[in-house]
């Protein structure tokens, strides 16, 4: 990454983009799980807590964005933790989706739905996008520590 200012802007933009992405999909997932809105694609997992989790993640990103006036490191720390939770939640969601399919296969449950659609849940897509972001932030921070 380039100069301090560039790095600061990068962190800020990442925070804004992922903060709003998680906020919007969190709210959608929450509302669809309590049947206030319809889920047109069918890729929103129907649990209330999942939606709340995404909203909490978005709050962490946004808290980072709001601290942009302080050091860049502080803003990055929010992003790091937010990213960690996003990845944790995304992986959880993906594993649960896969295990639902397994249940379908062995016939203990029915109607797990289309695996592709289920795996395109916002939390999983955002998690995939965040893995490289998180990894590069982590590497960068560790390298800064060694210097």
């Amino acid at each position: 990454m380039g100069s301090d200012e560039q790095r600061r802007m990068t962190t800020l933009i990442l925070g804004i983009v992922f903060g709003s992405a998680y906020l919007i999909s969190g709210i959608l997932q929450f509302l669809s799980s309590i049947s206030i809105i319809d889920d047109p694609i069918g890729n929103l997992p129907g649990d209330v807590i999942g939606g709340s989790v995404m909203i909490i993640i978005s709050i962490i990103f946004i808290a980072g964005v709001l601290s942009y006036k302080k050091e860049e490191g502080r803003m990055r720390s929010f992003l790091l933790v937010g990213t960690f939770l996003s990845i944790l939640y995304g992986i959880t969601q993906a594993l649960v989706t896969i295990s639902d399919q397994v249940s379908d296969l062995i016939g203990t449950t029915e109607g797990a739905g289309n695996i592709i659609i289920n795996l395109s849940a916002p939390s999983i897509i955002l998690c995939i996008l965040l893995i490289p972001v998180g990894a590069s932030m982590l590497l960068f921070t560790i390298r800064g520590e060694k210097r």
């Binding site: 490191g73 929010f78 933790v81 944790l88 295990s99 639902d100 249940s103 062995i106 203990t108």
Partner: protein, 667 residues
């Protein structure tokens, strides 16, 4: 040679290298270790230096000098009562602020002091650099740099000991608190000096203002307490204690500003992450998200594997019932053993996932942060954060959790922590939840499990509060803990520990639970006159026993089969599941326990299964836990109290849930 030895006391925070320095100073070989309690005994070493006899006492490592913990009391009582010629305060320059907190408290005792700034080798790092001259000037105490691991500076230190101990006590620099506090301190000091002449009472005055229990006891012994209370009038001791602590920290900040070089702090990844995960507002939501993910994986992800095992046992049971002769043996194996033991083994995948994730979390270093975050909540309602670590261990099993309370010094804190630990939902209760949730709460499974675990913690915390204001009155000791560095997940370690837990689970299934299942089968197959009756029918002993007690449990929505299962669950909570596996086997060949429970005839509904889960969560701790409560509290009284208390709470909450649910039209 000087006949009277110079008495020197070594004081310092834990881990400053005190033991190592003690060995260097005295030449005696002591065991150096991190284990708490290594220096709790009084250890004395002797040294002759330049014709002077020096006698060195190693005091316990402490962060402070309050009356809250054993170690701190030992330290300050020694200094006050034995009046050593010199207190050698060892400080760690990499943690100067925290170390100076003790230094200032030692200074308040107005003893002759000398500083050893140990680990001087680490001050090469600009972040740890300390301006020794400025430090010495600010505190008005001579400071000697040492490296106790190499013995560097020890000779100079011995020289200084002889020099300083022989000099006249100087009036050391003291903290000036803010004017309001100083006024009070002066007033009290003067009064105490009048009442009890011959010594200076500033330290006692400060401690009295802080509401220090031991000092007030001492005042009472001298019949001064009522007079002093009158003099002090309307002072809020809590507020005072906080302002005084605050005053010390402010002073320390001033000193730090003068002795530490300003370096741009390097970003440490641990600090970066900690600033967020221990954030006042975000700390708890982050903790909840992590715990919820663990339950989601434990329940949702592991379930198909459990179902596969379940189906396997179903087949096996059918095979046994159809192929084995004579009939009683086929029933023993098919219904008793496979039904009972199988019902428990089914949940092995869930147990493995749960323990794997918990061990990942533990080894990452996050658990210490969770305890730190929870301490804020718990201290608000008067509990020590130290109690939280045993709670986390209790997620696995309450027995080691209760043993882990040994690290809590304060007797009452420890007792409270032991008594509430059984409410923390251990791994043995998980099979009960998963069995019932899989049938009656499909789709919201992890939410229900999450709710149950949370309920356990909430009941534990509220009970602790209740004990604290009734049978075990008092305030908790303050909680200081070091946050270890974060580490990447150690897969090998986690897999090994998971394997061990899984092995223990299977071993339990093969021993206690096997035995329980056989007994259960026997009780369900025979009447009291030992006649073979229809399996699990109303004529069996099990039914007779259950029916005898069921009137008590019926208001919770339980029938006789659940009642029997619960009685046997006292031995080990998994037995509730295995007993249900045996008892619900009635006339339903080949189907799985899940299918049998969800059928109309089982009498189970989502309402009474919720009531059952709450009851299982909270009622009597298992036999092993009761044993360890007896062992750790040293009394059967507390063990029996725990049995009665937990069961009463369980009954009450299950009653509220079941009857409340009926009133609201569920069930």
């Amino acid at each position: 040679m000087d006949p009277k030895p110079i008495k020197v006391a070594l004081a310092g925070n834990p881990n400053v290298g005190k033991t190592t320095l003690f060995n260097e100073l005295t030449g005696e070989n002591l065991h150096v270790g991190n284990w708490p309690g290594v220096t709790v005994e009084k250890v004395i070493g002797k040294k002759v230096h330049k014709g002077h006899n020096i006698e060195i006492v190693d005091l316990p490592g402490t962060y402070s000098l309050t009356a809250y913990s054993k170690d701190e009391l030992i330290t300050r009582n020694y200094i006050v009562e034995e009046e050593p010629d010199l207190v050698l305060n060892i400080i760690d320059p990499t943690n100067l602020g925290r170390n100076l907190y003790l230094t200032y408290q030692l200074m308040e005792l107005q003893c002759q002091m000398l500083l050893a700034v140990n680990m001087w080798d680490l001050t090469k790092d600009p972040e740890n650099a300390v301006d020794l001259k400025a430090l010495s000037r600010e505190l008005d105490i001579e400071a000697i740099p040492t490296i106790s691991t190499t013995g560097k500076g020890v000779r100079e230190l011995l020289d200084a000991i002889v020099r300083v101990a022989g000099s006249n006590p100087t009036c050391k620099e003291q903290i000036r608190f803010n004017d309001d506090i100083e006024k009070e301190i002066h007033k009290i000091t003067r009064a105490l000096n009048d009442w009890d002449p011959g010594r200076d009472h500033r330290w006692m005055a400060i401690k009295a203002l802080e509401g220090d229990k031991q000092v007030w006891d001492l005042l009472k012994e001298r019949d001064l307490d009522d007079r002093l209370r009158e003099l002090m009038g309307e002072i809020d001791p809590m507020g005072m204690e906080i302002s005084i602590t605050d005053g010390r920290y402010r002073q320390i900040d001033n000193v730090l500003a003068k002795v530490k070089k300003k370096v741009k702090k390097k970003e440490k990844i641990s600090d970066l992450i900690d600033s967020v995960v221990t954030n006042r507002h975000l700390g708890i939501p982050i903790f909840l998200v992590i715990i919820w993910s663990i339950f989601e994986l434990t329940f949702e992800f592991a379930t198909p594997f459990s179902n596969l095992i379940d189906m396997g046992f179903g087949e096996l049971s059918t095979f046994a019932l159809e192929q084995i002769q004579p009939a009683w043996l086929s029933s023993l194996i098919g219904e008793g053993i496979i039904g009972g033991v199988g019902a428990v083994i089914i949940f092995l995948p869930n147990i493995l996932v749960l323990f794997f994730l918990i061990s990942l979390l533990e080894s990452s270093g996050y658990m210490a942060r969770a305890a730190f975050v929870m301490d804020r909540v718990m201290s608000k309602i008067g509990l020590s954060g130290k109690s939280f670590i045993p709670m986390v261990i209790g997620f696995g099993c309450n027995v080691p959790a209760i043993m882990a309370t040994r690290s809590i010094d304060d007797r009452k804190d420890r007792l409270v922590t032991i008594l509430v630990n059984p409410f923390v939902s251990c791994g043995a209760r998980l099979p009960v939840y998963i069995l019932l949730i899989g049938i009656f709460f499909k789709g919201s499974g992890s939410m229900v499990i999450f709710f149950l675990y949370l309920l356990g913690i909430v009941v534990a915390i509220l009970s602790a509060k209740l004990f604290r204001v009734t049978i075990l009155k008092g305030d908790p000791a303050p909680f200081i803990m070091e946050l270890p560095r974060y580490r990447g997940p150690d897969l090998r370690l986690s897999i090994r520990s998971t394997w061990e837990k899984g092995y223990q689970y299977l071993k339990k299934a093969g021993t206690v639970i096997l035995l329980g299942s056989v007994i259960m089968w026997f009780l369900a197959s025979y009447s009291f006159s030992l006649e073979n009756v229809d399996y699990g029918s109303e004529a069996s002993m099990a039914a007779a026993m259950g029916k005898f007690i069921v009137p008590i449990l019926a208001p919770l929505g339980f029938d006789w089969r659940i009642t029997v299962a619960l009685i046997f669950g006292f031995v080990a909570k998994e037995i509730v599941v295995s007993a249900m596996g045996v008892l619900y086997n009635v006339g339903a060949e080949g189907s799985t326990l899940t299918e049998r429970l969800s059928s109309e005839g089982s009498g189970m509904t989502s309402l009474n299964s919720l009531s059952l889960m709450v009851f299982v969560l909270l009622y009597v701790p298992c036999l092993a836990t009761i044993g360890v409560i007896k062992q750790e509290t040293g009394s059967w009284g507390w063990a029996i109290f725990a049995i009665i208390y937990t069961t009463s709470i369980a009954y009450l909450l299950a009653l509220i849930i079941y009857q409340g649910g009926l009133l609201l039209g569920f069930g």
